[in-house]
């Protein structure tokens, strides 16, 4: 057999012979919603659109910035100023960072969502309420009434001293007490069709008071 014939034979046997593959399962690791290490506002999880920042009560836009992360190059941060009008009602002015999905994402394959958070303020706020909201705008309400976005939420405990790593079990998300319309199928139906993730820091300011500060997040992962 000439050298050329041997080479052709080898090529044929490689292309036509039975292949051998390592078919053992590989753990892909926890899915990263975003760790911001690529230095942009586009989440690592491609179903989600760019992060945006803003305020509720009143509704407004804030600038999202990439800053030093929690022991990493980048985290996402926004600076806010919240004022409560002196009218006898606590408006629950809030700052938020959020990302919308371009299609509903089923989170029920995971057991928890983990992230790092940091909140700094120019003064002590007596009773703030920090929560993670998972919205499911395509899920109908029980009554059939059109609702802008039903959601499930969970409170976040955090330290006033730098970054806090938080792990929230998905089994502890539930409809918020301020949502009088009820989710058809309950919390699990919402978790199957999440189209927005929002970190909301509600200053719960006393009537007529104001506060400024920053809200930062990093390492948002499902696990």
């Amino acid at each position: 057999m000439s050298r050329r014939a041997a080479t052709v034979g080898l090529v044929i046997s490689c292309t036509a012979g039975a292949g051998c593959f390592d078919v053992r399962m590989t753990d892909p690791g926890p899915p990263v919603v975003d760790d911001f290490e690529d230095g942009d506002l586009t989440p690592a999880m491609r179903s989600f659109a760019n992060w945006t920042c803003g305020t509720y009560e009143p509704r407004g836009q804030l600038t999202c910035q990439l800053v030093d992360g929690d022991a990493s190059n980048f985290g996402l941060s926004t600076s806010f100023s919240i004022a409560d009008a002196p009218d006898g009602i606590q408006r629950h002015g809030s700052a938020f960072v959020t990302t919308d999905a371009n299609r509903p994402v089923d989170l029920t394959a995971w057991s928890a969502i983990a992230f790092d958070v940091r909140v700094t303020t120019n003064k002590v706020v007596p009773d703030p309420l920090f929560h993670l909201d998972l919205s499911c705008s395509t899920v109908p309400s029980e009554s059939g009434t059109a609702v802008v976005a039903l959601s499930v939420v969970q409170g976040i405990a955090y330290s006033n001293d730098g970054w806090t790593t938080v792990v929230l079990a998905l089994s502890n998300f539930g409809p918020p007490p301020w949502q009088p319309e009820h989710i058809q199928g309950g919390s699990i139906a919402c978790l199957r069709a999440i189209d927005e993730i929002s970190f909301v820091w509600d200053a719960a300011l006393p009537d007529g008071e104001s506060v400024t500060g920053t809200l930062s997040i990093d390492e948002v992962r499902l696990q």
Binding site: D87, G88, I89, Q90, L129, H131, E142, V152, V153, Q154, G155, I156, A157, L168, A169, L170, S171, N172, F173, G174, P175, P176, P177, W178, Q179, P180, H182, I183, G185, G186, S187, I188, A189, P206, D207, G208, E209
Partner: protein, 227 residues
Amino acid sequence: MTARAARIALLLVAATAPACFDVRSVDPGGVLIDDFDDGDFVPTMLELDAWQCYAFNPRTNPNYHCDHDEGFASPYSLFVDFYVEDTPDDTQQFGGAGLTTSTMNGPIDLTPYRDLILSLRLRSGTPAIPSEAVVYIELYCRTVPSESGAAVSDFYIVQPVTPTGDWSTLRLALTNWGPPPWQTEHIKGGTQACLRAVDSISISLAAQLKDGQAGRGTFFIDNLRLQ
């Protein structure tokens, strides 16, 4: 074989043969918690202790009492009549009043049921209760541990409803209860773990008063059942 021997053989076969059971899950049917038509404060559901009423924010508010009145197409309902003031201090206290019953012999498992059904109405007094008033239906599970291991004695899950001036009947799916976001210690096992170990049912009317306002009202409940 004699008749006696045949009977013994049949008995032996019956006693030693593999048994057959229908293992399909069985709908537990509905359970009446209370319709109040016996005119007392003892719930119909045997596991529950007598109904009590309370005021909150502040708990020290003495201006409330509970009793029976005409029900929703029935002889009796249970009501709490209350007067609540919000202290003028730039903070809304979100005060109100409610009705509660606790289990007598340990927690009860509500997960075999799908819905809590009840009728309610709010009769606003003078000064009026704001139209923003909310009813929180709270299921407490005080024996369930926290995720962190920290001692927490007042875990509960909640579902809000909007009260109406006329009687309304609500069917509330148990899947729509959840921990309130101000509860930053979390329930080990989540909402399901709480539903498996409920030790009291509280129905609280939060008057949603503005800072410094006062309100008076009577809040009625009737025909509570699990289904």
